[in-house]
Amino acid sequence: MRATWAFLRRLLSSPIAALGALVFLTFVLMALFAPQLAPFDPIAPNLRARLVPPAWAGGPEQHLLGTDHLGRDILSRLIYGSRIALLVGMAGVTLQALLGITLGILAGYFGGRLDVAISRLIDTLIAIPNTILYLTVLGVFGPSLVGLVLVIGFIGWTTFARVVRAETLSVRSREFVEAARALGQHTPIILLRHVLPSIMAPIIVVATLNVATVIILEAALSFLGFGVQPPTVTWGRMLADGRNYVATAWWLATFPGVFITFLCLSLIFLGDRLRDVLDPRLRGR
């Protein structure tokens, strides 16, 4: 507990990281309390209030950020959209981490043919430009929330695997692992109790930064029409609608992008600071 506090204090002693944590926390609270916070129903159309500009740009007071082409309140939609962004970001990265850590640790620890097989699988997955692969798989299986998370997890685990493999290789022959082996401990115990804890730092950093990557990816897939389908609100879909009205109603496309950028900025700030605190070797990379 004391160590956790000390760690948190060191993490947040950087003003940029503290700002990142604050912004991220705001988004989490926004997602949790969306029904209480949103001033309007995010999906109910109101055809009498279509394409109303933001309040400060000549629109009525009740629609702070204006309305879209169906008269839906942009702010309310943005608040609800944070749910999908965070859900897909966190769940997707969790699945990526589970797969990537498992395969990476196996490849790094055992080496040999298993390593070659896993490494070639990684080479294969990163050779195909990822959006094409994601779109194809989602096109074949049909887009859905669960499908999206599964696809992101099963295709995007390679970053974790590469980092974990390299780290495992470097600790495999260190004394504490050798000692555990000499004491006759079972391999799964060695991997989980000795190897994994010693390589957690880079894993945490990759996880934080990957949430940002996945949030942008989710937005891109939704933008292309392959994300979670309406009536569920996604920032990517809002951007796609906004693209069609870019010449007449700038606010449709502007605000979802601002939200995505702020959320990702907060994660990058946190991730960079985590890297500095946890793993000084990786600084600046």
Partner: protein, 306 residues
């Protein structure tokens, strides 16, 4: 060197097999091609006959070998949407547009990141560095398609300087290239800065400075040249990311490349086109990585590839 290139080419074989396996599985999972090809009221014997003619009654491994043989001959099947046209020529016809966009984005990324990274490292922690680093972080946090829409809003809608979409003269390339290149520029700026800072702390740089060499000469001849290694490596690895980003960028600007083609094909379940796009895109990424590996060997004389 030749032996090294040969070995790298050999290493590509399992990856190519892996890619074709993924494509094969996706095509098989996507639905029965016979049902798509025949009219809805086809008799069972007609279905069976076509299935036999296409080899779909054979065991899966045999089907895969047949599939691979067709691919090697450049036969990706006939497009369902463009009736009776071979898929591969349709994909190849769209390829120049994507290559043009990707290369232009690469140029944008290098033009921005190279000087910016150097300036950031030289003026470490002063305002030029803060500005450059802020750009780099922002560039990584922004979704590129949103940046594209904002650029359209500013330069096409409000100022009327550049076309909103489509592929015409060079002016139509400007916004898509910036859209696609910015994230890479951001990444490379950070990379150039950090690897240059690392190099600037090395003994040989201090020696060169102590020797009384001009600051600029030390920077360019000793430091930048060494920082270039990491830069080129990442540049090569990012070709896949650029091609992936091109899909979304092409959609924003209605740019007629293979990304736009892929999206249309996926929407109409035109599997021959999709497999063409996947295989062609993967081959481009792999060749780019090979070129980078060779460049790497040329830049860094310390590494011998025998």
């Amino acid at each position: 060197m030749t032996a090294y290139i040969l070995r790298r080419l050999l290493q590509m074989i399992p990856v190519i097999i892996g890619i074709t396996l993924i494509v094969f599985v996706l095509v098989r999972v996507s639905g029965d091609p016979v049902v798509l090809m025949l009219p809805e009221d086809a008799e069972q014997w007609q279905i069976d006959a076509l299935r036999e003619a296409l080899g779909l009654d054979r065991p899966l491994p045999t089907q895969y070998v047949m599939f691979l043989r067709d691919l090697l001959r450049g036969d990706f099947g006939t497009s369902l949407r463009y009736t009776n046209q071979d898929a591969l020529p349709i994909v190849l016809e769209r390829l120049p547009a994507t290559l043009q966009l990707t290369l232009a984005a690469l140029v944008v990324a290098v033009i921005i990141s190279f000087p910016l990274g150097i300036i950031a490292a030289v003026y470490r922690n002063r305002w030029p560095d803060v500005t450059a680093t802020s750009f780099a972080v922002l560039g990584q946090a922004m979704p590129n398609f949103w940046l594209g829409i904002m650029l359209i809003l500013l330069f096409s809608v409000t100022l009327g300087w550049l076309p909103v979409s489509g592929r015409g003269g060079l002016d139509s390339l400007v916004l898509p290239a910036i859209t696609l290149g910015t994230a890479l520029a951001a990444l490379l700026t950070r990379l150039m800065r950090s690897s240059l800072l690392e190099v600037l702390g090395q003994d040989y740089v201090r020696t060169a400075t102590a020797k009384g060499l001009q600051r600029r000469l030390v920077l360019l001849k000793h430091a930048v040249r060494n920082a270039l290694l990491a830069y080129v490596t990442v540049l090569g690895l990012q070709v896949a990311t650029l091609m992936a980003g091109a899909v979304v960028t092409e959609q924003v600007f209605a740019w007629p490349g293979i990304g736009l083609l892929a999206i249309q094909a996926i929407n109409s379940r035109d599997m021959p086109i999709i497999q063409g796009v996947v295989v062609v895109a993967a081959l481009i990424v792999m060749s780019a990585n090979l070129v980078v590996d060779v460049l790497y060997a040329l830049i860094d004389p310390r590494i011998s590839y025998t």
